[in-house]
Amino acid sequence: MTDRPLFRCDTLSCFYGDKEAIKSVTMEIADKQVTAFMGPSGCGKSTVLRALNRMHETAPRARVEGSVFFNGADLYAPDVDPVDVRADIGMVFQKPNPFPKSIFDNIAFGPRIHGLASSRSELEGRVESALRRVGLWEEVCDRLKESALGLSGGQQQRLVIARAISTEPKALLLDEPCSALDPKATETVEALIRELRDLFGVVIVTHSLAQARRIADDMVFFYFGEMIEQGSPEAILENPTDDRVRGYLAGRTG
């Protein structure tokens, strides 16, 4: 990789209690690209993803060893507040999780807690630009005061992405963002992800080979807690070097 990497994991291990879910992963993730994490269920893709913005430690008895450097700075240094990390690195989950509030208040949540808008009009501007960014503005601009729970699944997921980017993060983590969506909504969200790549680095966990092929620039393959292969989707999908990847792609495991 030519540029300085966005993330660099150095012998990163993640634990749930005594169970080592991720075993000493070392890798680099480039900025302004879509990186896909793939692998069989339970292989630790989501765990690594959650370690990248220090969400992993919110689970009971979870802890992390090793380090994650974000733009060169160690996220797990003792003086780093996880709250600041999460403000810089947005995250979207598998199931759309809008707050049971109005559409406006959902988007305004981040700017409000981080004090990013000094006036009401500035806040409204931020909400509008975030909604425009995800292509939701035209659909919801006349019902910003209505509950976000009234939106369709695809709209909710785009709303949640808008909520994540309203704080102007420097990276976005997506944990199987399309697995609860129908094909049409998936297409819209995928198009959005391709656009967002111009703004910041995107890391996406996905189960779908087709989706990875459509949107990923880089691909990391995990297998039972270990990172076993990294490369371009074409390279991995057409010509995997590792037997375990080949087995997975052939449908023999996972």
């Binding site: 919110t58 989950f93 707050f99 049971p100």
Partner: protein, 421 residues
């Protein structure tokens, strides 16, 4: 064949189960209807009373008033004598003092208070003849309401035949009026049943219970948040949790004893005060609110908290903003259940002395006060037959308050549920 027999057996079991459910439902409904009909039948009559029209001459001499009386003198004048004169005029054949007394016993002292009030407001009435609707005494009222009958054996009833004749004479002349008994809602307790009211009890209850909720709701919700979201899972918090759950099952009289020992004796707070009652009731309500608030927080989807944390909210910010409002319906339900529990509680209030006779409704949290359920208890103990309907009447007021609270709770649950859009 075997399969068919099995199916028949399963059907029969299901039918038996459903019938049992129906029977228990019918039993519960029947009991409720019995309760409501019983209480209403006994107590509704407490909300009206009988009055007799009298023409009373406010003669200065009869009232033993000097010229230019002050307001205090006007209030303290001998209206009893004036009423006796009026009764004597109405029944001239009654001569003996003993009989006159028996006649006057049919009129409530409330009539004297009415006259005193009117004269004090308008001293020009002295020397004039005024018409008053004098409330009848409790025994006369019981006769008019049919609770004392002429057919009862004379030695078993509190009115003589002669007294019954006088009441009948009034009724025959059309002097008896039925009126809404506003005094029942506006007055404090009284040793005259016809003048006794629930105001002191209602106010005392509302102050004490309001205070209890003011203390217990914020404390309970804060404790629930602390235990559910912040406290580490260890021996100490397990121990705390077990104890909080047990606290909810502690008999309420124990809390009363605690209140007596700790607040009244040790801290020297006044007895009978709604302040102490409120604190004791808050201790009782606290476990209810903690348990239901924890359950409400635990029932929230994990994704709600994760969503807030992933946006860079601190743990407290995540709790305060998306989580507490989303848990509001459950928390409100817990608070209202606690409120209703506290409103119906008698035992702890007895121990801290909120059981005394209180004629004037309290005006501050330190004034001696009664409570509605305590009033029910006191009146139920009273020997006068007229207190039977008063007791049931107070129960009606208590149940109405509870019904109102439950309606408010149902409304609040719907109003504050962010998942209903």
């Amino acid at each position: 064949m075997n399969k068919l027999a099995r199916r028949a057996k399963r059907r029969a079991f299901e039918l038996a189960f459903r019938s049992a459910g129906f029977v228990s439902l019918a039993f519960a409904g029947g009991t409720l209807i019995l309760l409501v009909v019983g209480v209403l039948g006994l107590g509704l009559s407490a909300f009206w009373r009988y009055e007799v029209e009298l023409s009373v001459t406010l003669d200065a001499e009869t009232l033993s008033l000097a010229d230019d009386p002050t307001e205090a003198e006007l209030l303290a004048a001998d209206y009893r004598g004036a009423i006796r004169e009026a009764l004597n005029e109405r029944f001239p054949e009654v001569r003996e003092t003993k009989n006159l007394r028996a006649l006057q016993a049919l009129i409530s002292p409330g009539a004297e208070f009415m006259l005193a009030g009117r004269a004090a407001k308008d001293p020009g009435l002295i020397g004039e003849m005024v018409r008053v609707r004098a409330p009848v005494s409790d025994d006369a009222e019981m006769y008019l309401k049919g609770r004392i009958r002429r057919s009862d054996p004379p030695d078993r009833r509190t009115l003589t035949d002669q007294q019954l004749d006088w009441v009948d004479a009034w009724r025959a002349d059309g002097d008896v009026r039925v009126a809404f008994n506003g005094d029942f809602l506006a007055n404090g307790d009284s040793s005259y049943p016809e003048l006794a009211g629930v105001a002191a009890g209602v106010l005392g209850s509302l102050i004490a219970v309001g205070l209890a909720i003011l203390i217990a709701a914020p404390l309970g919700v804060a404790t629930a948040v602390l235990l559910e979201e912040f406290a580490p899972k260890n021996r100490l918090t397990d121990f705390l949790e077990v104890n909080i759950n047990n606290l909810a099952a502690v008999p309420s009289i124990v809390f009363g004893l605690l209140g007596l020992a700790a607040f009244v004796v040790f801290f020297g707070m006044p007895r009978s005060a709604p302040l102490v009652g409120g604190i004791v009731l808050s201790l009782m309500t606290l476990p209810t609110i903690i348990i239901s608030s924890r359950a409400a927080l635990r029932a929230l989807p994990q994704s709600l908290k994760e969503g807030a944390l992933a946006l860079g909210a601190s743990r407290l910010e995540a709790v305060v903003n998306p989580m507490l409002p989303a848990a509001a319906p459950g928390i409100i339900t817990g608070v209202i259940i606690g409120f209703a529990q506290a409103l119906g509680e008698t035992a702890p209030l007895l121990l801290i002395g909120m059981v005394s006779f209180v004629a004037t409704p309290p005006t501050s949290v330190l004034d001696p006060s009664s409570a509605l359920p305590v009033l029910v208890y006191l009146w139920a103990e009273s020997p006068e037959i007229a207190f039977v309907e008063k007791t049931a009447g107070a129960v009606i007021v208590l149940l109405s308050l509870l019904l109102l609270l439950n309606a408010a709770a149902a409304y609040a649950r719907r109003r504050f549920d962010p998942y209903q859009h």
